[in-house]
């Protein structure tokens, strides 16, 4: 069973000699993702505001936050349910430090002061989550991070001085800079696209750097890693810190897109949905969480109509999600990425047989 399959990328840059040049090789190997990138860049030309915000924006933001989970779970073997909480904390800090509808709480700092501090605070929390779970056996990580996430939810719900209880914060605008209002649909789309693409590329690259390879070693055999000179606990905590930065940026973009945040942005169901997104997409490759996010967002947007069309109660969306998740865990635990890999393997082996 390959639930936490490692990302088997090409060898450390030592490619075999081929007839075409290295750049052409690189393009052909990565054709799919490059085409996707091109499509995403041109997307605003064909899409309206609804598709930009509700579909693409949400997909990329949820994808980013889920990417932080995929990084920890897929490359590190640590299933952390605290990533949505890290993102939510960053979002809350933007509301508290920056502009919102509540002058008695918000500090109204400019965005260039609020954003770094929000990222720092959220990353500190993510690192704390790591420090608390890193010394325990793998299966406890889910429990501990879920407990942390749920505690944070109750904190935001019950606390009024800082988090404004169940009302949360509204009217949180995205900033203006470089003469652009980044809150408008198209600029915000490109801002989100930039960070989503950047986080994807960084995770993919880092996975084969010493940091990423060491993390995979820690996943596969922590005892052996200690015995070849690695401080396993330090590596785990560092991984949490790295993942937290990605989640924090996702959380800030989330708040700029939604213009509001409340306890229900970090509730248990949202936290768990993020895990579902990561698992369904596939934990074995950084594109997995984005695939999972797309599926989730499409379902969430269109499921109501689809369910009603089939004669079922449109409100049973969560049951649908749960069933879909169960199907994946039972029949293809490595998610959509796993299905794709198996299809490619089958295509390759049938190509080989047909060539003989």
């Amino acid at each position: 069973m390959a639930l936490l399959q490692s990302a088997q990328e090409s060898a450390l840059g030592i490619g075999s000699a081929q007839r075409s040049g290295p750049f052409a090789q690189w393009v052909s190997r990565n054709a799919a993702i490059l085409l996707l990138g091109l499509f995403m860049i041109l997307f605003p030309a064909i899409a309206n505001d609804f598709f930009l915000r509700q579909i693409a924006g949400w997909t990329m933001i949820l994808g980013m936050i889920a990417l932080s989970l995929t990084f920890l779970a897929g490359y590190g073997g640590m299933v952390s349910l605290a990533q949505m909480t890290v993102a939510g904390l960053a979002g809350y800090m933007i509301a508290v430090l920056g502009v919102s509808s509540l002058p008695k709480v918000s500090l109204f700092w400019p965005w260039w002061a609020a954003v770094p501090l929000a990222i720092v605070i959220a990353t500190a929390f993510g690192t704390l989550a790591g420090a608390l779970s890193a010394r325990t056996e793998g299966i406890y990580t889910i429990m501990i991070t879920l407990a942390l996430a749920t505690s944070f939810f109750y904190l935001t719900l019950q606390n009024w001085p800082i988090f404004n209880g169940f009302s949360g914060f509204t009217t949180i605008p995205a900033p203006h800079f470089l003469g652009v209002d980044w809150g408008k649909a198209v600029p915000l789309y490109y801002l989100i696209l930039f960070f989503a693409a950047l986080s994807y590329a960084v995770v993919l690259y880092v996975s084969r750097a010493p940091f990423g390879l060491a993390l995979q070693g820690v996943r596969d055999n922590p005892r052996r890693m200690e015995a070849i000179g690695y401080n396993v606990t330090a590596h785990r905590i560092a991984a949490y810190a790295f993942a937290a930065v990605i989640a924090a940026i996702g959380g800030i973009l989330l708040v700029w897109q939604n213009n509001q945040i409340s306890p229900f942005s970090v509730g248990v169901d949202v936290v768990i949905n993020l895990l579902i997104i990561a698992v369904v997409g596939g934990l074995g490759h950084p594109i997995g969480p984005f695939i999972g996010a797309l599926i989730y967002v499409m379902l969430r947007t269109f499921a109501l109509d689809a369910l009603v069309a089939v004669g079922l109660d449109g409100r049973r969306f969560q049951t649908l999600i749960g069933l879909g998740f169960l199907v994946i865990v039972l029949f293809s635990p490595d998610g959509v990425v796993g299905i794709w890999r198996r299809l490619r393997e089958r295509a390759r082996s049938s190509q080989r047989t047909s060539r003989r």
Binding site: M1, L3, L4, V79, L128, A131, L132, S133, R135, T136, G138, I139, Y140, I142, M143, I144, L146, A147, L148, T150, S151, Y154, L155, Q158, N159, W160, P161, V268, D269, I272, L275, I276, V279, D313, R315, R316, F317, Q318, T319, I321, G322, L323, F325, L326, V329, L330, P333
Partner: protein
């Protein structure tokens, strides 16, 4: 070394008192501090408070009520957490559907009680319906995923989502309260002094009977489980299975049957706890997450796979939650959260857990 049933100390060759004595010998200062704290606390509870105290700590009535509420809440948490820790201890399955089982049992108990007018009969129905669900889960699904701990946990997650949604469909989003039966209704006098009136008359604490009865029942169940696990053949098998699962199948015991039994029992307990919770508080959507969280925190603090740990953790978390609610309104969950963080930082395996 059997961790589930507090056998660790005994197995180290000496018995519990020996280890305790050794600890006092090694840490005389800490032992003194703890002894003083315990004595102070006992005095705080039993004696009437002198005038100055009330100015600082508020009325003793509030404190005592919070304390008793916390202890009885601890009884409820013990019932829920013990099933959770039993399932993990034997099957290494983090059952994230445990909260759903709690809620389901509560709802079923409510319906049964409504139908028959008997509160106690509700417990029977709750236990049976949850046990059946638990058996089905183990037999139909988890049996095929032996050894894949993470995958089993993810399945419980998926199931909890579906269960949760289906329960909303059937019972809606409104809160349901289970009525306390007449024979348990009302407060009873206790020997705890609340205050001394200026006339010299002592005022004693009156506390709801139902909460005392349920706490007593939780203790009885805990003791019963301890006896069952230490004195019966099935209990021995369970303890052996917790220590070394492979040995169990090698010795020829029908491991799967044992798993089904344990899952059913753990689920049934959670279901019965649902009725308790429905009587103490209420049942509604969201309570499944709440009690799953409670199970998680109790077991993290008390120690995974340890039933005495579940009892200790439940007591600590129950009391701290009530104290937090009464004295720190805006930060009530923070106290339990801090306790969990401190335990994780200082002793990651939990207070009574073993690595």
């Amino acid at each position: 070394m059997s961790t589930v049933f507090g056998e660790g100390e005994a197995a180290r060759g000496g018995g519990r008192t020996d280890a305790f004595g050794r600890w006092i010998g090694h840490h005389p200062i800490w032992a003194l501090i703890i002894a003083v704290a315990v004595i102070f606390f006992v005095w705080l509870v039993l004696a009437p408070w002198p005038a100055g105290f009330e100015d600082v700590l508020g009325k003793k009535l509030i404190f005592i009520n919070a304390l008793f509420n916390g202890i009885t809440l601890g009884g409820l948490y013990f019932l829920v957490a013990t099933g959770f820790t039993l399932i993990f201890g034997l099957m290494r399955n983090v059952n994230l559907a445990h909260g759903s089982l709690y809620l389901f049992g509560g709802y079923m108990g409510y319906e049964a009680g409504d139908l028959t007018g008997s509160w106690l009969f509700g417990y029977v129905i709750a236990f049976i319906s949850c046990a059946i669900v638990g058996m089905a889960m183990q037999f139909l699904i988890f049996r095929r995923m032996e050894g894949q701990d993470l995958r089993q946990t993810l399945v419980t997650l998926g199931l909890s989502i579906i269960f949760s949604d289906l329960m909303v469909w059937v019972w809606g989003g409104n809160a349901i309260q289970i009525d306390t039966p007449d024979y348990l209704e009302g407060p009873v006098p206790t020997p705890i002094i609340v205050a001394v009136k200026s006339s010299g008359e002592t005022v004693f604490l009156y506390y709801p009977l139902v909460r005392l009865v349920i706490f007593a029942a939780a203790v009885a169940i805990g003791v019963g489980m301890w006896l069952a696990l230490n004195r019966t053949r099935v209990g021995v098998m369970i303890r052996a299975g917790v220590d070394d699962r492979n040995m169990l199948s090698v010795l020829g015991y029908r491991v799967q049957l044992l798993f089904i039994l344990v899952f059913a029992f753990g689920a049934g307990l959670a279901g019965m706890a649902g009725i308790v919770g429905g009587t103490f508080q209420s049942l509604s959507l969201g309570e499944d997450s709440h009690f799953l969280l409670a199970s998680l925190v109790v077991v993290i603090v008390g120690g995974m796979g340890s039933i005495p740990g579940a009892a200790l953790g439940a007591l600590i978390i129950g009391v701290s939650e009530q104290i937090g609610t009464v004295y720190f309104q805006n930060y009530s969950t923070v106290l339990s959260f801090l306790i969990m963080v401190i335990v994780l930082a200082l002793r990651p395996q939990g207070l009574l857990g073993r690595r």
